[in-house]
Subunit: 344 residues, 2 copies
């Protein structure tokens, strides 16, 4: 007789949650049949299926998704990484993603980097640890470590917002072209001394890309393109600050091209308080096409970016890839529209 007498097998389980095995026993089938009845019902006879479903109902079984994911080596998680939640733009992209993914039974794992590329790397590492089915991240810029990590990953990667040299899939718009578009519009309206004002453009480099386009057009016509960065936070307060600062630094300007609508609307409302005529004394333009721009007087001239569309299209392409279907285009330009208000 051995000295080792395991009278009772070691037990660990504390949770009283019913398991699939118990469901199977109650239904008089094997666990795999119970599993199939829930996941691939078409592979199971109707009789078995009904009995399993009844047992589930009666026992109050809730599938353990953690166990399922481990066994199948894939979770129905989609990692989504954005630089900010304070910006309505990303919220709308997230909404577009969420609606589309949730309808297919995927759950979003949301990460907010606060415009910090190191945080992006950390988050992606963590998310990969959850065996995500895909990754959707805002932007094309990543730290070198992050890039290495991403290149070694074998699931779909979707980079959204701007277009360019993407790792895998890419949905967005051409920010430089948007900048050019607005600069041309301002020139058409007769403006010659135009300042560009952004908030934290080092981090929000898409605002920088728009400025590049803006500058290209202005300098191409022989004008200067002064640029002001008021730092973060931006928002309506930032817009007010930006207006004051631009008028102080560049007294001769007749128009300000703001990096986004929050800033532009803040400036416009501030001009109202100051008794400045818009666009008579100073013209104001924005970017994004937020609803607020349609409600201020004068209405804000801006560029409508199809944010919800970015989310929806990105999700659709990722789902297509996950379903094994060929992806129509690796790159998808959702475009933009100039919205002419009376503020320019």
């Amino acid at each position: 007789m051995s000295s080792r007498t395991p009278i009772e097998p070691r037990r660990r389980r504390g949770s009283t949650q019913p398991t699939l095995k118990e469901v199977a026993e109650a239904a008089g089938v094997s666990t795999i049949t119970a599993s199939r009845a829930l996941n691939t019902p078409e592979l199971v006879s109707e009789a078995a299926r009904t009995r399993v479903l009844q047992a589930v109902e009666q026992i109050g079984y809730v599938p353990n998704l953690v166990a399922g994911s481990l066994a199948s080596a894939r979770s129905r998680f989609i990692a989504v990484i954005v630089p900010s939640l304070a910006n309505a733009v990303f919220i709308e992209v997230i909404q577009g993603l969420q609606e589309t993914f949730e309808a297919q039974g995927y759950q979003i794992l949301l990460g907010n980097t606060d415009y910090d590329l190191r945080r992006e790397y950390q988050m992606i590492r963590t998310f990969f640890g959850w065996s995500c089915s895909a990754l959707v991240t805002a932007g094309l810029r990543h730290s070198p470590a992050c890039r290495t990590l991403l290149e070694g990953w074998d699931q779909p990667i979707m980079e959204v917002m701007e277009l360019g040299d993407a790792l895998d899939l890419n949905v967005g718009l051409d920010h430089q072209e948007a900048g050019r578009c607005m600069a041309r519009h301002l020139l058409e309206r007769g403006h010659r001394a135009i300042a560009y004002v952004g908030a934290g453009m080092g981090d929000d480099y898409r605002a920088g890309l728009r400025f590049e386009g803006h500058r290209e057009v202005l300098e191409g016509q022989g004008f200067t393109a002064p640029c002001l960065d008021i730092g973060r936070p931006g928002g309506l307060d930032g817009g007010a600050r930006g207006l004051d600062l631009a008028l102080e630094r560049h007294p001769g300007i007749t128009a300000i091209h703001f990096a986004n609508d929050d800033l532009a609307a803040g400036a416009l409302l501030h001009a109202q308080r100051l008794g400045l005529d818009v666009p008579g004394q100073i013209a104001i333009a924005g970017f994004n096409g937020l609803p607020l721009g349609r409600h201020v007087t004068p209405r804000l001239t801006t560029i409508l970016s199809p944010r919800a569309t970015i989310g929806r299209v990105a999700a659709e392409e990722v789902l297509r890839r996950l379903a094994g279907k060929p992806v129509r285009r690796r790159q998808h330009d959702v475009g933009f529209t100039l919205l002419e208000g009376e503020s320019t």
Copy 2:
């Protein structure tokens, strides 16, 4: 010789991801020591720890959190359920939650019910399948099935936004009292014919609670309290619609108490377009204290709700409970502040 000759044991693993076992081998320790070196480093000798960490770095090991969660029967997920992402209020609560939880290594699983209680039930079921450490949900109202499910759960449940008869933990403010507060303010300013205007108050029942408080005060003083629901979506457009409708239905009113700042700001900007004097011809009040209210002219009278605080405090209480510390209060009133603008 048996007919069954499994030349090679069945292999399933497709993923080439390095595992903890490989790290352990490279470091010359057992897997459990490698595990401890990563999770409870204080239980491991410094020599072993360094070798494991080196191996991790070299191999590029990313912990499989799914496997870890299954083995330990708990994940570092916090389920967070909100009725809408279109509303800045919930975004700010989520931000407060996220900052606090992420700092402790918890990941939020975000669910959006779109004001549908059945979806809440479904989401909670799914989230429980992920072995969440806690649940944070907006509101005290749940479907009966959901309530049963929640009552049988053994992890912390935090209900946020309004105060009341909670299942477990509760952080929020008294919406009826907020409604009373604004009604009193309007009476003080001399208004007697006041309409309350909301959007989709059947779903957004907290707006309904505020109306109850509002009505109580007005009727207590012998005035009527007409209420208008313009349906969803609300937003700035809804506010404009609400102003038109209220003036049409109740031509004698001198003030409108809107259910939130989006509506109120929309009405205020619309009044500006119509050339209506605010508050001379019509006074406008809101709820939430969004930044926009400080930027319009006249500034919006509203009630500041401490949204980020709700998120932060809720997260802190949950973390305290998860750490096994006694919770100071099951219920936490974060209060509110009347912000007097010039719109009333």
